[in-house]
C-alpha cells in the first residue's frame, strides 16, 4: 500500500500547540532518570530540576502568546483559554514543588517518583484543559488521575493514606467509566467526538431530543462532577484529602479542580450551548446542593484537613454558579475564581502543613491554639488565606465571589445568588473559628514549635499571599484576561 503522507508543516504547528506539555513530560522523565544517578543527600536537586522545567513551560506558554494554534487535526488547541489554564495549573504545580522542598524532608517523600508523578499528572491536566476532542479530554483525565491515586497512597505505612487512596481509586475508576460511557453514547448519536463539531450537530432538534444523547450528556456530567467533587459525587473527597500527604492534598484541591473545570467549561460553552435551556436546571440544582452540603458539613469538622476538604467542595459549588448561565460573564467569573482559589487554598494548606507536626494527629484544630501571637507571621498568613476563602474584602476571594454572584444576578438567577451569599456567610463561621483558635484560645499544653520553613517554602507562601492581596485590590487586568480567554472559546 501507499506510504502514509505526512504533512510536515501541519505536524510542526501541531507540535507547537503542545510545547508546554512536551516540556512538562520531558522534565518528568528527566527527573526520574536523574533520581537514579544522584546520591541520597542530593535529592533536593530533583525538586530544583522540576521547578526549572515548570519555569521553562510557563515561559513557553507566554512565548506562544494568545493566538489560536490548532494541532493534531483538531484534537487539541492552544487558545486563550488553554493558555489561562496552563498558567493556573503550572502555578499550582510550582507551588507544590516549592512546598515539597520542606515537606519531603520531614516526611521522606524525597523520591524521584514523587516529583515525576506530579509532573505527569500536571501534563495530563494540561492536555485535558486544552483538549478539543472528547478523546483527548478523557485521556488527559486518566493521565491526571492515575498519578494522583498513587500519590494519595504515597505513605504506604499510614492507614488513612491507604484508605483514602483506595476509596479515591475505586470511585474514580467508576467515574471514568461513566465519562467514557457518556462519550460513547454521544458518539453513537452524533458520530463525532470533536467538541466544535458537536456544537454544529446540536442545531438539529432531533439530536437534541434524542434520549441517547441526553443520557450521554448526563453521564458526561457525572464524570466531571466526580472530579470536581460536586455533591452528590463528593463522597471520596474528605477521606482522600485527609489521607493524602498534605502537599498532595494542596495540589489536588487546586490543580485537579482547575483542569476538570476547564474541560467542563469548554464542553458547556462550546459544545452544549444548545442544551442550555435544559441544562441550567441541572447545574442550578447541583450548585445549590454542593454549596449547602459542603458548608454545612464543614461546620462540624475538627480536623483542619477535613474542614478544608469540605470547604473545597463548597467552593466547587460557587464556581459552578458561574456556569449555570452559560454566558461570557459567568465563565469569566469562574475562570477568575479558579485562579484565585488555587493560590488561597494552597496557601492555607501550606501554613497548616507547617503548624501540624506530623500527619494524622497533627491536624486537629486544637493544635492551632496560641499560634497567632507566638508566631505572628504564620498566624497572619493563615488569617489572610482564611478570610479570602470566606470572601471578606479586601482579598481576592471577595472579588471572585462578587463577580460570580453578580453574574448570576445579571442573568436573572436571583435565588441562586441569594443562596450562594447565604452559604458564603455560613462559611465565615468555620473559617473564623480557626482564626479564633489561633488568637483567642489558650493552649492546654505548650505551643508546639512549627517546622522551620525552607526558603523556597516561605517563597511559596509569600507568593500566594501577594496574589491574594493584589488581585483583591486591582483585579482588573486579570479579569480582562479571563474575559478574553472565554471569548477565545466562542470564536
Amino acid at each position: 500500500m501507499a506510504p502514509i503522507s505526512i504533512d510536515a508543516a501541519a505536524l510542526l504547528t501541531s507540535v507547537q500547540s503542545i510545547v508546554p506539555e512536551i516540556i512538562v513530560v520531558a522534565t518528568a522523565i528527566f527527573v526520574l532518570l536523574l533520581d537514579l544517578a544522584i546520591s541520597e543527600e542530593k535529592k533536593h536537586l530533583l525538586c530544583g530540576m522540576g521547578l526549572l522545567g515548570i519555569g521553562v513551560a510557563l515561559f513557553s506558554v507566554y512565548a506562544l502568546g494568545q493566538g489560536r494554534i490548532e494541532g493534531f487535526s483538531g484534537m487539541i488547541v492552544h487558545d486563550g483559554m488553554g493558555a489561562f489554564f496552563d498558567v493556573v495549573i503550572l502555578s499550582a504545580c510550582a507551588l507544590t514543588f516549592l512546598m515539597a522542598t520542606g515537606y519531603s524532608e520531614w516526611e521522606g517523600t524525597h523520591k524521584g517518583e514523587f516529583y515525576s508523578l506530579i509532573l505527569l499528572s500536571t501534563s495530563g491536566m494540561m492536555f485535558m484543559a486544552k483538549g478539543t476532542d472528547l478523546m483527548t479530554v478523557f485521556l488527559g483525565l486518566e493521565t491526571l488521575s492515575i498519578p494522583i491515586y498513587v500519590l494519595v497512597g504515597f505513605h504506604r505505612n499510614r492507614m488513612s493514606s491507604l484508605e483514602g487512596a483506595l476509596k479515591y481509586f475505586l470511585l474514580g475508576a467508576f467515574a471514568s467509566g461513566f465519562l467514557l460511557y457518556g462519550i460513547a453514547l454521544i458518539y453513537a448519536v452524533t458520530g463525532t467526538t470533536k467538541i466544535p463539531v458537536l456544537a454544529t450537530m446540536l442545531y438539529d432538534p432531533r439530536i437534541l431530543a434524542s434520549p441517547l444523547f441526553l443520557a450521554g450528556t448526563g453521564l458526561l456530567l457525572v464524570g466531571f462532577a466526580f472530579k470536581v467533587s460536586l455533591v452528590p459525587f463528593h463522597m471520596w473527597t474528605p477521606d482522600a484529602y485527609e489521607g493524602a500527604p498534605t502537599v498532595v492534598t494542596a495540589f489536588m484541591s487546586a490543580a485537579v479542580k482547575a483542569a476538570a473545570f476547564a474541560a467542563l467549561i469548554r464542553v458547556l460553552l462550546v459544545a452544549l450551548p444548545g442544551m442550555q435551556p435544559v441544562l441550567w436546571k441541572v447545574l442550578w440544582g447541583l450548585a445549590v446542593l454542593t454549596m449547602t452540603v459542603g458548608n454545612l458539613s464543614a461546620l462540624v469538622q475538627n480536623n483542619v484537613k477535613r474542614l478544608l476538604a469540605y470547604s473545597s467542595i463548597a467552593h466547587a459549588g460557587y464556581i459552578l454558579v458561574g456556569l449555570v448561565s452559560g454566558d461570557v460573564l459567568g465563565g469569566q467569573a469562574s475562570l477568575f475564581y479558579l485562579l484565585v482559589y488555587a493560590f488561597m487554598n494552597m496557601g492555607a494548606f501550606g501554613v497548616v502543613m507547617l503548624i501540624a507536626q506530623k500527619e494524622d494527629e497533627g491536624y486537629d484544630i486544637a493544635n492551632l491554639a496560641g499560634i497567632g501571637f507566638k508566631y505572628p507571621a504564620l498566624g497572619a498568613l493563615l488569617t489572610l488565606f482564611l478570610i479570602s476563602l470566606g470572601g471578606i474584602p479586601p482579598t481576592a476571594g471577595f472579588v471572585g465571589k462578587f463577580y460570580l454572584f453578580s453574574a448570576a444576578v445579571k442573568n436573572g438567577y436571583i435565588w441562586l445568588a441569594v443562596i450562594g451569599v447565604l452559604n458564603s456567610a455560613a462559611s465565615i463561621y468555620y473559617y473564623l473559628r480557626m482564626v479564633v483558635y489561633m488568637y483567642m484560645v489558650t493552649p492546654d499544653v505548650e505551643v508546639a514549635v512549627p517546622r522551620p520553613p525552607r526558603i523556597l517554602f516561605s517563597m511559596a507562601l509569600c507568593a500566594s499571599a501577594v496574589v491574594v492581596v493584589v488581585l483583591g485590590i486591582i483585579p482588573r487586568s486579570v479579569l480582562e484576561i479571563a474575559e478574553r480567554s472565554v471569548l477565545s472559546l466562542l470564536m
Partner: protein, 177 residues
C-alpha cells in the same frame, strides 16, 4: 447459505456458548476461569470470521493475555489454596434466569430487527493497516498521550509495590493471620 464458513461459525459459536455455560455453572472458580479462556478464544474466532482481524488480535491480547491472567492471579493471591475451598456458589437462580432471558430477548430482537442491513457479499479486507495509519495521523495525539498514561501507571505500580528498603526483600506472599 452453506459452506465451510458456516460450519466454522457453528463450531465457534458452540465453543463460545458451551464454555460460557461452563463458566456459569462450574463450582470450582479455577475451572470456571479456564472455561472462560475458551469463551474468549471463541469470540476472537468469531471476530476473524467477520473480517475484524484487529479486533480479534486485541481480544486475544487484552482478554486472554491480560484480564484472564489477572483473574487467575487475583484468585491465587487472595485465597489460601490449600485450605479454603475455592467455590463459585450459586444463589438467586430465578431472578438471574429472568434477567438473562430478558436480555437475550432484547438482543435477539435487535439482531433480527430491520435496523441492520444484511450484506450479501463479505469482502475480506485487512483492517490493521488502516487502523495503524489512523493512529499515526489523525489519532496521533491520543496515541501519544496514552503512552504518557501508561508510563505514569508503570511508575505508580512500581512505587506502590516495591519494598521500603531495597536491601531487605519483602516476603512475596504473606500468610494471612
Amino acid at each position: 447459505m452453506t459452506g465451510p464458513a458456516d460450519v466454522i461459525f457453528y463450531v465457534l459459536a458452540a465453543l463460545t456458548v458451551g464454555s460460557a455455560i461452563f463458566v456459569a455453572t462450574l463450582p470450582n472458580i479455577i475451572y470456571a476461569a479456564v472455561a472462560l479462556l475458551f469463551t474468549f478464544c471463541g469470540v476472537a474466532g468469531l471476530y476473524v470470521l467477520v473480517s475484524a482481524d484487529f479486533l480479534a488480535a486485541t481480544q486475544v491480547l487484552v482478554y486472554v493475555g491480560g484480564i484472564l491472567v489477572l483473574i487467575m492471579f487475583a484468585v491465587f493471591l487472595s485465597n489460601r489454596i490449600s485450605s479454603v475451598k475455592l467455590s463459585n456458589p450459586v444463589h438467586f437462580r430465578l431472578p438471574a434466569a429472568a434477567i438473562c432471558l430478558t436480555l437475550f430477548g432484547v438482543l435477539a430482537y435487535t439482531a433480527i430487527s430491520p435496523a441492520f442491513v444484511l450484506k450479501q457479499e463479505i469482502t475480506y479486507q485487512p483492517t490493521t493497516a488502516r487502523i495503524g495509519e489512523l493512529l499515526m495521523t489523525r489519532y496521533l495525539l491520543p496515541f501519544e498521550v496514552a503512552s504518557v498514561l501508561l508510563l505514569a501507571a508503570l511508575i505508580g505500580a512500581a512505587l506502590l509495590s516495591r519494598p521500603d528498603r531495597p536491601d531487605i526483600p519483602r516476603p512475596d506472599m504473606e500468610e494471612p493471620k
